[in-house]
């Protein structure tokens, strides 16, 4: 499972623990760009120890040594430090499936996803010809697949995640809570995430805020803005 320490993948991790009676019986992978907020790293270490996770950190060290960063080009930076870091990790570790916490309402291109979504050898997402997915019968996989991406939270909305976090009392990174009138709705790399004006300093206030909000969740995210179809291009290349 890919874990970014964000609210969505932490909620998914919680669901996995519930399904497997308090354990997560598979590796939990953090794609580390080296540019995450320090609160995120602290949260990772704390929860990995508390929940007994088999944490793997995947980094594209070569690109980092080469100085890759958002100042070059955002699409190159995401591709090198995220997609290629994952590719390198999967080349060294054989996994048939990857669990990811993407949601349809985050981004229009993610709305087009299937719950079980195959990727070929070059990680390509064949969005023009996806397998049929009827009821709760999902794609069962072919030998020629590199891996199958599994998206259990695809039908959840941002507010569903927060209501679930509230109900289950799931820990979240403190950056989501307002401090001095600002908070993060979406967290990731420090350089590419903007905060929003907010006074929601508790989970129940976040839920209340989202019920009236008219700003999209990823409005603070740089990679979504560079061009209209950058997310599609990133995802077609294997981006999460």
């Amino acid at each position: 499972m890919l874990w970014s320490m964000g609210k969505d993948s932490t909620a998914l991790l919680w669901l996995c623990r519930k399904a497997f009676q308090g354990e997560v019986p598979f590796p939990v992978i953090h794609i580390d760009t080296g540019r995450k907020f320090k609160e995120i790293y602290e949260f990772r270490e704390r929860l990995a120890a508390e929940w007994g996770l088999d944490l793997r950190v995947a980094r594209n060290d070569r690109a980092l040594a080469d100085g890759m960063g958002p100042n070059r080009s955002k699409i190159d930076c995401c591709t090198e430090l995220k997609t290629n870091a994952l590719k390198q990790y999967l080349a060294a570790n054989d996994h048939a499936a990857l669990l990811l916490a993407i949601r349809r309402d985050e981004h229009g291109v993610r709305a087009k996803e299937r719950v079980f979504s195959p990727r070929d050898q070059s990680f390509r997402w064949d969005y023009k010809s996806q397998p049929p997915e009827l009821w709760d019968q999902y794609y069962s996989g072919k030998r020629s697949d590199e891996h199958v991406r599994v998206h259990p939270l695809l039908g959840w909305r941002e507010i569903d995640v927060w209501e679930y976090v509230e109900r289950e009392k799931i820990p979240v990174v403190s950056l989501y809570l307002a401090k001095n009138g600002r908070r993060f709705r979406s967290i990731g790399c420090e350089c590419c995430c903007g905060s929003v004006g907010s006074t929601a300093d508790s989970i129940d206030k976040i839920v209340a805020e989202l019920k009236v909000s008219k700003v999209s969740e990823r409005s603070g995210r740089a990679q979504d803005k560079e061009s209209a179809f950058i997310m599609q291009k990133l995802r077609a290349l294997g981006y999460m």
């Binding site: 009676q21 308090g22 229009g108 087009k112 023009k128 009827l134 009821w135 409005s219 209209a228 179809f229």
Partner: protein
């Protein structure tokens, strides 16, 4: 689920619903021009450039009465498997028909999919009323043609509404332009759709997803269970006792329809594919079953071709033993050129024989065990409804 022929305005209608109910973030609304509301749904570059919907999307909006998940359907015939993918998740459907163009190929085909899936709450929407001068006669003519076609399929339309999605007419409020229309506006009709009732009296049914550390994992798909209850393990038929019910981290005394739980049972421990059933359940174990299948892919299938059936968590090798009839999903015409093969987009009544017994129900009695997919060479090729 919003269905209908290509260019009859499905995506525009959804864009209108999102915009007029204030469900779109301001920064996203600013991205698309008002005339191109459809762009709120079509997010692939190819979709915007060509002005078509390739794959199904789900989007969300709410009214004072309830929350909606809107499923968008591609209107082009070559994307029918995507339309069926979307429709399989729907509780109700809105069939959009162009007031000028009338009933067309995909109007009929999409209606066939709804009938096949057992979606019987269908609202007929006659769109682009602005192009016919909001004429009552034009509306009635198209409306009757659609209602007649649905009737042939055994669907009684819940209601019908004349609208202009582009101009926002009769969507969230009644409109002066059509003073002759005294019915409800679109959103009002949708808000009055009732959700399915849960039958609390139904027998307990629990398809096993897996066995993990001595616990039987799965989701209750019908009825309820108390710890201490005795249940049947199907298809084997043995009896076991449910000792504890866990909904981690809690231990609970009872689980009901829709809940995912871990059961500790004994003396036997059934694994994936088994179905736990209450003592009062009349679920049957069958090797032969009659079903209506919808063939979704280009490759044809023939009698006795090796297939795999997946029904709930069961997986069994099977083959089509006989084809009773084949119907074209577009015109509902019986296809008479042989009963040996089924082709893309045909609906066929077939008899299927499985390698060993599986637990099945008629779709009407228990949808989770009354529907299945067929795989050929590891690919999902068809969906099936058990009669």
């Amino acid at each position: 689920m919003i269905v209908g022929h290509v260019d009859h305005g499905k995506s525009t209608l959804i864009g209108r619903l999102l915009a007029d109910t204030g469900s779109v973030a301001g920064d996203r609304l600013a991205e698309v021009k008002d005339q191109e509301l459809a762009h709120l749904l079509d997010h692939l570059e190819e979709e915007r450039e060509q002005g078509i919907t390739i794959d199904t999307t789900q989007t969300f909006f709410r009214t004072e009465k309830r929350e909606y998940v809107i499923i968008d359907a591609p209107g082009h015939v070559e994307f029918l498997k995507n339309m069926v993918t979307g429709a399989s998740q729907a509780d109700a459907a809105v069939l959009v028909v162009d007031a000028v163009d009338g009933v067309r190929e995909q109007t009929r085909r999409h209606a066939s999919v709804l009938a096949w899936l057992g979606i019987d709450r269908v609202l007929v929407v006659v769109n682009k009323m602005d192009l016919v001068g909001y004429s009552q006669a034009a509306y009635e003519k198209v409306r009757e043609a659609v209602i007649d076609h649905l009737a042939v399929l055994g669907i009684k339309a819940t209601d019908s509404v004349p609208i202009s999605a582009k101009n926002g007419v009769n969507i969230i409020r009644p409109e002066q332009a059509m003073s002759w229309y005294t019915g409800k506006c679109l959103l009002e009709v949708l808000d009055n759709f009732c959700p399915e009732q849960n039958n609390a009296e139904a027998a307990f049914v629990f398809p096993v997803q897996g066995l993990y550390k001595g616990k039987v994992l799965g989701r209750v798909c019908s009825g309820s269970i108390l710890s201490g209850d005795q249940v049947k393990v199907l298809p084997a038929g043995k009896l076991v006792t449910v000792r504890t019910i866990d909904r981690y981290p809690e231990v609970v005394g009872r689980a009901t329809k829709g809940e995912s739980v871990a059961l500790s049972v004994g003396p036997d421990q059934p694994g994936r594919g088994a179905v736990l059933a209450g003592m009062d359940s009349c679920l049957k174990v069958v090797r032969k079953l009659k079903a209506q299948i919808f063939w979704l892919v280009f490759d044809e299938v023939g009698i006795n071709d090796p297939l795999v059936m997946r029904c709930a968590t069961q997986q069994v090798r099977c083959r089509i033993r006989s084809i009773k009839s084949r119907i074209g999903s577009e015109d509902l015409r019986l296809i008479e050129d042989g009963k040996e093969r089924i082709r893309e987009r045909e609906v066929a009544d077939v008899e299927i024989i499985a390698e060993h017994g599986l637990v099945a129900s008629s779709f009407n009695d228990l949808p989770e065990l009354g529907r299945f997919v067929l795989e050929k060479d590891g690919r999902v090729c068809a969906g099936g409804i058990i009669q």
